[in-house]
Amino acid sequence: MITMSKDTMQIVREQDVVPFRNRVRELAVKIGMSLVNQTKLITAASELVRNMLKYANGGKITLEIVNKNGQNGIRLIFADEGPGIENIPQAMQDGFSTGKSLGLGLPGTKRLVNEFDIKSVVGSGTTVTVTHWKNGR
């Protein structure tokens, strides 16, 4: 996988979410992603950025345009310095939530994007990386 462009954004307040979503949409339009795939990616991004704000008071997002085997895609890396997730398999289950949400955030997000990776160290933070390809597969 080759990274073709790279950009970072700091998220500290809820209001930062709207410009961030717009930025993701811009990138998706730039590589010619279809509307449905754009919507899936932005929805996934929206879920992850909410988690970041809710559990870690914000963090840093890296936005990249990547290329693999000639296909373009978008990779988003959400890095926070929050409390971390103790039990990742549990957090990835439908309907599980420590907060008062529906518990669809992480598992739902995973279903929306092509590639999903989560790493977490309790006490020092969580990094979630998602990649979505132009044609959605």
């Binding site: 919507t39 899936k40 932005i42 739902g108």
Partner: protein, 137 residues
């Protein structure tokens, strides 16, 4: 503070969401709508989301909440004009908005509300007393 205007149309409340929602705005909408249902004794709530590009799990939960809360106060909720890409994304996310009525557009949504609340026959008597007014507090 940003607020989404709520219109009163006869026995129903009408909301058209024209901006990108962030969580605070959606929460305000929930509070305002429920307060308004209680104040006016509205029999139905119509939410037009045809201009909304992203509905994530939080926003979906708010829609579900509005429907359940309104039902307790004897008002039906109908969500109209969801974009195809949004519908596909919600299904993939695992959110099917149980308990929320849906319709293709405002007109069909209105028909559905009249149908659901059996107001077609009695509508004229109820309408006479009140002039439609905007809600801005």
């Amino acid at each position: 503070m940003d607020r989404i205007p709520i219109l009163k149309m006869g026995p129903f409340l009408l909301v058209t969401i024209q901006v990108d929602l962030y969580d605070r705005l959606a929460l305000n909408l929930e509070n305002d709508l429920i307060a308004m249902v209680s104040k006016t004794g509205a029999r139905g709530v119509l939410i037009d989301i045809s201009a909304v590009n992203i509905v994530d799990s939080f926003m979906g939960r708010i829609l579900g909440n509005i429907a359940s809360m309104s039902r307790i106060m004897d008002a039906e909720t109908v969500v109209v004009g969801m974009q195809p890409a949004v519908a596909i994304t919600l299904v993939e996310l695992g959110l099917t908005l149980q308990g929320v009525h849906t319709a293709l557009n405002v007109e069909k949504g209105m028909d559905l509300l009249y149908d659901r609340t059996d107001l077609l026959t009695t509508q004229e008597d109820e309408d006479n007393g009140e002039a439609p007014d905007d809600y801005n507090e």
